[in-house]
């Protein structure tokens, strides 16, 4: 199989998605993104109009779309689901971290 060499671009803290780019990459309309912003599901980086987003917003947008499509969650439910999922992820990470620390004392 042919292997292609490819330079990568790091999407660091400096990279920002415009509303247009986020919509294009997420395959959604601007109205949908603005609705997610209104529910606090997506948070723009500043007060700029139209809003601009960090790169992590794309992952969150994709999760939101999947959850809405697959589980038929409405927007308030979606906001709560994503918040709880964030919390669960944070707690899981913390459990892993603490367990790894604990193994030094066993």
């Amino acid at each position: 199989m042919k292997s292609i060499h490819q330079e990568v671009e790091i999407l660091g803290t400096g990279y920002i998605f415009s509303l247009k780019e986020l919509c294009l990459r997420g395959g959604v309309s601007a109205d949908y993104v603005l609705e997610l912003v209104a529910y606090g599901i997506l948070e723009p980086i500043d007060e700029n109009v139209p809003p601009r987003f960090e790169t992590s917003a794309l992952g969150r947008l994709r999760s939101a779309c999947r959850l809405q499509q697959d589980l038929r969650v409405n927007l308030p439910g979606l906001a709560m689901t994503l918040d709880l999922l964030d919390e669960v992820k944070q707690l899981r990470d913390e459990v892993i971290h603490l367990r790894r620390q604990l193994r030094h004392y066993q």
Binding site: M1, K2, S3, I4, H5, Q6, E7, V8, E9, I10, L11, G12, C23, L24, R25, G26, G27, V28, S29, A30, D31, Y32, T55, S56, L58, G59, R62, S63, C65, R66, L67, Q68, Q69, D70, L71, T81, L85, R92, I96, H97, R100, Q101, H104, Y105
Partner: protein, 322 residues
Amino acid sequence: MDFKDYYRILGVSDSAAPDDIKKAYRKLARKYHPDVSKESDAEAKFKELGEAYEVLKDPQKKAEYDQLRSLGAQDAQGRFRPPPGWESASHFSSGGFTDADAAHFSDFFESIFGKGGSAHRTYNQGGQQRSFQMRGEDIHASLALFLEEAVTGGQRTITLSVPEIDDRGLVTHRDKTLSVKIPPGLSKGQHLRLKGQGAPGIGDGENGDLFITIDIAPHPLFDIEGRDLLLTLPITPWEAVRGGQITVPTIKGKVSLKIPPGALQGQKLRLKGKGLPGHPPGDQIVILQLALPEKAHPESDALYAKLAELESGFNPRARLGV
């Protein structure tokens, strides 16, 4: 090709009522949704559930499937073998697929019901226009790096499944191998973009991009906390009491660390700039842990007795009230 038991996948009996099938699907879909579940095979399970429900919720497809199942269309090894001359009465390309991701249905499904036609997952909730000139979809993947790789960078070969539209307008998948130069100093959750390496565009549409989310594999010695690296360092009681110079591993090689006299269990020492690279770089935090020899030297016992006598005023359990 294995015979897929859609009833077993949904955990229902073959006499289950449509409502029970729907309930079972909804419950399992919540459990195995890739955005919710922590199971590593959640995505595969979720797709399987979608496929099973696609068949069992539709009376016509269900009847066809039941017929095949009752005909025993599988050999002794459980592999699927459709009866000679079998042809599905269902037509899926005309909007038969509703909410499941038809592009990912199994060969087993396709051998019974045919290919999913133009149906594929899109998220254009707000009515985005799609025309014959269309930008290729972005592909999202994750890549787990060893901590050393994340620090120093390197070359990694990754293989991706890229969706393509064939001449008949059907979605097919092709494996593509990329050699990716990993820049140094990556951290967990960071995103990389490989321009134009997503799905090919249609017509004059440009290719999609490939987004890679970085993950860092657990390291046997170091834990990561932000940009700092944590290392638990066992030391002897005499090293703790008397202090001294100790050789310590860091992610970039060994360094010498000075233990201050009177060091305590759990005490943290900082090796500045020895954490993950960055501006500023993180530190390595060394956590001291007292260790005793598993088997004491024959003469040690007398020395411990002497020590007990000299330190008789020390009660490590004072806080426990005993």
